[in-house]
């Protein structure tokens, strides 16, 4: 059976197409075949969170999915946050203001989880924020500024 497939994906509202072996992971396909390099690869076994994207509104580890499995789904990556004009999403703006990043490697993953969290739970408590963010590792910031960024983003999205 063919191990190579034509793969059609819908990412950030746009349609993309490529051809890859079935064994190619979603994150590799996004980066190498679709040129969407915003999503990073850290551990390739699901613990670091750098590869986190949204699939049908839920955060998933794109390193633990085969690209073929994402066909038919609505995907969102970090490239989908800012407007076409370059205007940052309020979540990105909050991370910028509160220094929620240094090297930025873990940041796309954190942003996508922050996005899902605040979409589904705009009044999330600090404990709930910590619970959601616990699936992401950051080597630079010590996490405090990330938490402050998420709190600020929450309050901005609530219109405060």
């Amino acid at each position: 059976m063919a191990t190579t497939r034509a793969i059609k994906l819908r990412v950030n509202g746009a349609d993309y197409e490529g051809t890859a072996e079935a064994r190619k992971t979603l994150v590799d396909f996004l980066r190498e075949d679709l040129g969407l390099c915003g999503t990073n690869i850290g551990c390739e076994h699901g613990v670091c969170g750098a590869c986190t994207i949204l699939m049908n509104g839920e955060t998933v580890r794109s390193c633990l999915m085969l690209a073929v499995q994402a066909e038919g789904a609505e995907l969102m990556t970090v490239e989908g946050l800012a407007k076409a004009t370059g205007e940052l999403h309020p979540i990105q703006e909050a991370y910028r203001e509160k220094h929620g990043l240094q090297c930025g490697f873990c940041t796309p993953g954190f942003l996508m989880t922050t996005y899902e969290l605040l979409q589904k739970n705009p009044d999330a408590t600090v404990d709930e924020m910590k619970e959601w963010l616990s699936g992401h590792l950051c080597r630079c910031t010590g996490y405090q500024d990330i938490l402050e960024s998420v709190k600020l983003a929450a309050s901005r999205l609530r219109g405060e």
Binding site: A22, R23, G46, M55, T59, V60, L64, L66, E131, G135
Partner: protein
Amino acid sequence: MKPARFDYYDPRSLEEALELLQKHQADSKILAGGQSLMPLLNMRLARPKVIVDINRIDGLNSVKSWNGGISIGARVNQRALEREKQVAERLPILREAAQHIGHPQIRSRGTVCGSLAHADPAAELPALALALDAEFVATGPKGARTIPSDSFFVSYFTTSLEPNEILTEVRFPGSPKGMAWSFLEISRRHGDFALAGVVAGLAVDPGRRSITGARLVCFGVGPTPVRVKEAEEALIGQPAGEKSFHAAAEIVSRGVDPDNDVHASADYRRSVAGTLVRRALLQVWQKLGGK
């Protein structure tokens, strides 16, 4: 690393999937949520020649009432345990324990049945299935058979599923009358594999003094989840409280035979298992209204 080459199939029907397994047997692996298999593929710790992806199969994705409890299909993700009302109403311990399964990002893809079929000795769901007397529906080319929980988990990552069978459904019966449950695990970081964990169930007489039912299952302390019957029996008839819980904890510490590894020593695991048992029993006791 990246996965080694494999032939990939995404059948549209269960029959097709079963035909593939029948043809390829132990050379094939089922891919459901992928949260356990993909890490193995990525690191090339597993190199099946054939992958049978069941995500395009119609059905196998319902959460239904069953026997006072719930039945969960093969494709149902772990987030369902947190989301489904039936789980919250009938088996709230599953919802409570689900938070400890990896992280939300893992639970959006990881399946309940997949975790059970994978049988990681440090996983939460196998222990819960054993504690709650779940039934496993294994479907093969000749039809479905039901495997009771005490014969499903055989060893490290090994269940009694045949290579040509798919775990299509797991059924959790309703909790025994009057039994309340508690779940505790110890891990280095939230979401890590458990160093040791406990599922504890307790029922007491209406006067709320003597123990009429007990369930103690430990995980992370052996090749499969372990039901410590000796400790359960020691609790029956005893007055619920520190003394009897402590005695049960001692039996557990003596009775489990964990391994050493770089994360924790066998002695530590033995000790922690006992401590968790004591705390879990106290927690259930409080849920039942005791002090």
